[in-house]
């Protein structure tokens, strides 16, 4: 179920579905002033999706072009950041599906990874200390090893602080799917971080393997 049917609703679709009696933003300046406030957040999201600074810049620029085009479909007073993110991710997925159609599904293994137990067994000292020995660049590298659907949900919830409800809206999936996808994404990320901690000597590896 966790496939990409949700990407089918494009920003264009949203725009045409919106009733005509939409309240216009107070002014174009208000819209622009708020839209630019979300630039850093969108750029980070684009970096996670594309894993490439140049492509990320293109994607963000494209997002703003589209946002201006569909400005009339934005409801003043609603969450503009979520609206911009949904435009951006739909754009990204439209492109990805044509370029690498194989990269849109998820490895849906059902086993939970017991990170806490492993760290407790293998860390030399308190468990949280072991976490703090992992450099930021290594965390980014671990996230970037995940499939795009997992990278994006971790970025939305854990980094940008989106609620489940707003995440569901951006990804156009039910809240239950947000929770299960997020759980799987975190399990996979924890596996990657564990692997790194073992390879770098942060964990001693008294476990199996």
């Amino acid at each position: 179920m966790d496939l990409l049917s949700d990407a089918a609703v494009s920003a264009e679709g949203l725009a045409t579905q919106t009733p005509r009696l939409v309240v216009m933003p107070d002014s174009d300046e208000d819209f622009a002033a708020e839209a630019i406030n979300h630039l850093d957040s969108l750029y980070r999201g684009a970096l996670r999706l594309t894993r490439d600074p140049e492509q990320a810049q293109d994607l963000v620029q494209d997002t703003y072009v589209r946002a201006l085009r569909y400005q009339h479909s934005f409801h003043t007073g609603t969450n503009m950041r979520a609206w911009l993110f949904s435009i951006m991710r739909n754009r990204f997925w439209d492109r990805l599906k044509t370029q690498h159609p194989g990269d849109v599904s998820l490895d849906d293994s059902r086993d939970d990874f017991p990170l806490y137990e492993r760290v407790k067994d293998e860390a030399d000292g308190p468990e949280t200390l072991a976490l703090n020995r992992i450099a930021a660049t290594e965390v980014v590298a671990a996230v970037e090893k995940l499939p795009a659907l997992h990278r994006e949900i971790v970025q939305l919830v854990d980094v940008e602080g989106f609620s489940y409800k707003d995440t569901a809206e951006v990804l156009d999936i039910p809240i239950g799917t947000v929770m299960s996808r997020l759980h799987r994404a975190r399990q996979q990320l924890q596996k990657e971080l564990y692997q790194y901690a073992r390879e770098s000597g942060i964990l001693a590896g008294k476990g199996t393997e």
């Binding site: 630039l39 996230v143 924890q190």
Partner: protein, 72 residues
């Protein structure tokens, strides 16, 4: 609430998505369970680590200029 119920709510608790009533129950359990407290602290620290690590990048000035011109 036992440890299993508590651990099942760990993610929604840390995401601040648990109902107020359930938060009270989780906290009540943790008042008596050091093991769950340690586990929650570990995953809270992990969430902070991800937040700080992936939340540092800022849009390059070049992009800020381009977007600024688009919106002008």
């Amino acid at each position: 609430m036992n440890c299993k119920d508590c651990v099942e709510r760990l993610e929604t608790f840390l995401d601040r998505e648990l109902s107020d009533a359930e938060v009270v129950e989780v906290k009540r359990h943790m008042d008596e369970c050091g093991g769950c407290v340690q586990r929650f602290e570990f995953y809270a620290e992990l969430k902070r680590l991800i937040f700080h690590s992936c939340g540092q990048e800022r849009a390059p000035l070049e992009l800020r200029d381009k977007v600024g011109k688009l919106l002008a």
